[in-house]
């Protein structure tokens, strides 16, 4: 079945380190996305036509362009057209942050617009200043709503990072392929075992995070 290959040499360790590369890229992009996306989301609620139009185009671009196409544009296109030489990892970080910020911005905008007007009116009638309203009334509600959604964004980021092997980053799938190729003669069936293990590794990385998001969502429902 091909599982024996994993026990040879340091193959199992190499796979885990490959997963580490994927997780590192996704966590860095997720942190950038959450920070930038929050700012963008607040900007989108400002009702300034120019800003609104700009973000509409940005969000629609991200909505319809596959991340793989964006990766190719940044990694191959930028080099050819402008002579900018990015490492594959930088290109991946740029693309995933670009994508993630748009997703996050839309979530923040949704959460902000989902706060009923009554909340603002009641705060004002209780004598709170605008800043106090944001700090003590609106802020905590938004944060509660956003934490599960941001955690979900992290799992989506991890899943999307599997694409980086297509621009030559050696992450878990690529390491898997290398191990399979290197052991082609000795264990020709390695592909089954290795890819099954990688499948389960991704599951092991994402499932706990999804469960946490679901748990928090339920806990803070009201």
């Amino acid at each position: 079945m091909g599982f024996e290959v994993l026990l040879k040499g340091n193959n199992a360790l190499r796979l885990l380190m490959g997963l580490g590369v994927a997780l590192r890229i996704s966590l860095i992009s997720a942190v950038i996305s959450i920070a930038l996306g929050t700012v963008f989301g607040v900007l989108m609620t400002l009702k300034k036509p120019a800003i609104t139009a700009f973000f509409r185009i940005y969000l629609e671009t991200v909505r319809i362009m596959p991340q793989m196409v964006l990766l190719f544009i940044v990694y191959f296109g930028a080099t050819k057209a402008r002579g900018i030489n990015l490492t594959a990892e930088t290109a991946a970080l740029i693309v995933f942050s670009f994508w993630g910020s748009a997703e996050m911005a839309d979530l923040v905008r949704g959460a902000l617009q989902g706060i009923p007007k009554i909340q603002y009116e009641s705060s004002t009638s209780l004598g709170l200043s605008t800043m106090q309203t944001d700090r003590y009334v609106i802020g905590p509600q938004i944060i509660r709503r956003m934490i599960p959604l941001s955690i979900n964004l992290i799992t989506r980021m991890i899943k999307t990072t599997s694409l980086v092997m297509m621009i030559g980053i050696v992450e878990v799938l690529k390491v898997g392929q290398q191990i399979i190729e290197a052991n082609r003669k000795v264990s020709p069936n390695a592909a089954f075992g290795i890819f099954l293990v990688i499948f389960l590794l991704y599951f092991a990385a994402c499932w706990p995070i999804s469960l946490l998001a679901k748990y928090l969502e339920r806990k803070w429902e009201n």
Binding site: I64, K80, K159, F195, I198, F199, Y202
Partner: protein, 219 residues
Amino acid sequence: MNFDVITSYIPLYTEAFFLTIRIGWTGIGLALFIGVFVAFAQHFRVPVLARIAGIYVELFRNTPLLCQLFFLYFGLPKIGITIPAETCGTLGLGLLGGSYMAEVFRSGLGSIPVTQEEGALALGLTRRQMFTYVVFPEALSLSVPGIVGNMIFLLKETSVFSAISLMDLMFTAKDLIGLYYNTTEALFLLVIFYIIMLLPVSVLGSILENKVKIRTYGA
């Protein structure tokens, strides 16, 4: 940007475009079918099926499509199950999408208030009529935004098919870049064709969402 090059590439892209569309929409069809089936199994708590459906949804929602395709296309032949690339693509997309669609349908079904069911029963409908004429249509209209979102997501995911050597848009672009080094032109066409493929879905989807929204609140 060299326009002669672009014109000469268009036929290649058109061919790839139709392949991508075919696999994409067949996959979405399969995903809707699996999704409804799985959501029903979970909603009605069918003894063994509901458990299996739960495991399936968790497994496929928490792994990347690329990983699933590699397992289907390179892994399974080693234990004697060989699936052609195109079927693999459709199946992979269907399985991935099925788990996402199932969640959408399930939350749609779950958010129908009990009063709707009680009202239907009080009017003398049988349980079957209640489900087919009241609960299901309402759940479906609540699910529309989620379904449209998933359709766009799945059409975008088709871009990973090049990894299992299907000649889709991405594969064509990569191939042409490798062969002739006309990177700018190849990427330009790639973007154009993805816009042709996805913009109508995105726009029609928003229109449909607005239509259903009005109906839901019954103004």
